[in-house]
């Protein structure tokens, strides 16, 4: 993919993290904030190279942890694990199909918070957990499922808006030209 795609992916990750911290609407409504980084990671894993996937995991993870009380870097590995697995299997995935995007978004959004919390517990931290966490996990998973096809559509729109349009082939063929008049 081209540089535009990489720029769009990083810009989306940056804005997603900021939006999650600055817009508490969903948190008030549903009791949990939806994380968009796994959905963006799904897009990156299906449409970019492994270097971009790794860089997104590092950049997105650091940005998320910088605005959170998480220890810095704890979100990097969960994001990369999800991106790496999807990237290594992407030849078998129908990436243009919305249902496939939704399923991948569901799995990614379910796995990333679980792995992050496991890493936090392994590191001796005490995150706020309880029965309500199950509801929050469901909201995050469902939110990721809905957000993934939307993110794919937004990226497509971004490509159409900012990228070069492919040159269309002309139907004119000089060897089929009917020449009128006498030579």
């Amino acid at each position: 993919m081209n540089v535009l795609n990489t720029i769009l992916i990083f810009a989306a990750a940056f804005l997603a993290v900021f939006g999650e911290a600055a817009l508490p609407g969903l948190r008030h409504l549903l009791g949990a904030q939806v994380d968009l980084l796994p959905a963006i990671m799904v897009y990156a894993a299906l449409n970019a190279n492994l270097t971009v996937v790794a860089a997104l995991a590092v950049f997105g993870g650091l940005a998320f942890d910088a605005l959170s009380a998480n220890p810095l870097g704890v979100t990097i590995l969960p994001l990369f694990v999800v991106g790496f697995v999807i990237f290594s299997q992407r030849e078998f995935i129908l990436r243009k199909v919305s249902f496939a995007q939704m399923v991948l978004g569901t799995v990614a959004s379910a796995v990333v918070p679980v792995l992050t919390v496991l890493l936090l517990l392994t590191g001796g931290k005490e995150p706020m957990l309880g029965w309500g966490s199950l509801w929050q996990w469901l909201v995050m998973t469902a939110g990721g499922a809905v957000a993934t096809p939307v993110i794919f559509a937004l990226f497509d729109w971004g490509h159409r808006a900012f990228g070069y349009q492919p040159r269309t082939e002309t139907s004119f063929r000089p060897d089929r030209e009917i020449l009128r008049g006498r030579n």
Binding site: P71, F80, F84, M128
Partner: protein
């Protein structure tokens, strides 16, 4: 070759993550500041966007409403002046009595208004970021409150902003006492992740007599929070560990879900 590249990427990212974990807290704090400062322009924009509807509403308010508002504020100001005079007299008396008993004089606290600019994007922490930092005199562990009651304490400070850990987060434990005849003391600790208006008051005496509606204030023990800041009201209580001690659910006075402006207590 393809697989080798995959493993190289996996190894590199794992190495970066491990490196981050093993860094000392001071370096991690600086890195957080560096990454977090990328968001500063957006924080400024968000602040302006938040103030825009208020400014627009102010601009279209009628003169009659403004006069009514001014009159109400003048009346409230007069009442507060009288209350402040009473408080001054009480403080003077308190200082004289403390001096007579040889106790250390209690230093008055100053309040600094801060805007809440960001919330923790992770669902398993309860923190907010405010727009006051070390250049405004903020240091770690300063109490943060609203007019309704205690909100939390400052946990990390950067030059232009600070992170505040809210009550109910596992990292914000507060020593509090119940306003009952026995003044039972307990610890405000982590609550459930969903309802941020309720917290647990634990390690209360087993024979504490707790009733719904009793006030809970900071006890002053621990040295972080001054005594007497309202925390909330007792909702219900139950014995724990076969009556060895009691626990109570406390409904917080401050609405943590709708924080926009908070006060930082600066010594």
């Amino acid at each position: 070759m393809f697989k080798q590249k995959n493993y190289l990427a996996l190894g590199a990212v794992t190495l970066v993550a491990l490196l981050m974990f093993s860094l000392p807290p001071r370096v991690t704090g600086r890195l957080k500041l560096a990454v977090g400062s990328l968001f500063l322009p957006l924080i400024g924009l968000a602040g302006t966007a938040q103030q825009l509807p208020v400014a627009t509403a102010d601009a279209v308010l009628s003169r009659r409403e403004l006069l009514q508002l001014t009159e109400n504020l003048r009346r409230e100001n007069d009442q507060l002046k009288v209350a402040a005079l009473q408080a001054d007299a009480t403080a003077r008396e308190n200082n004289e009595l403390r001096a007579a008993l040889g106790w250390q004089r209690r230093m008055p606290w100053r309040l600094k208004l801060a805007n809440v600019v960001l919330r923790d994007p992770a669902n398993w922490w309860r923190t907010v970021e405010v727009d006051l930092g070390s250049r405004d005199g903020v240091v770690e562990n300063l109490p943060v409150l609203t007019a309704d009651g205690l909100v939390g304490r400052v946990v990390s400070v950067w030059p232009t902003h600070s992170q505040v850990v809210l009550i109910g987060d596992p990292n914000c434990k507060v020593s509090a006492l119940v306003e009952n005849p026995a003044h039972d003391t307990g610890i405000i600790s982590a609550s459930g992740p969903l309802d941020n208006s309720l917290v647990e008051l634990t390690y209360l005496s087993g024979n504490a007599i707790l009733k719904s509606g009793q006030g809970v204030v900071t006890s002053g023990l621990g040295g972080v929070f001054p005594k007497g800041i309202p925390v909330g009201q007792v909702v219900d209580a139950r014995p724990v560990e076969f009556g060895l001690y009691s626990e109570a659910r406390v409904r917080l006075s401050a609405n943590l879900g709708a924080l926009e402006q908070v006060w930082v207590l600066v010594p």
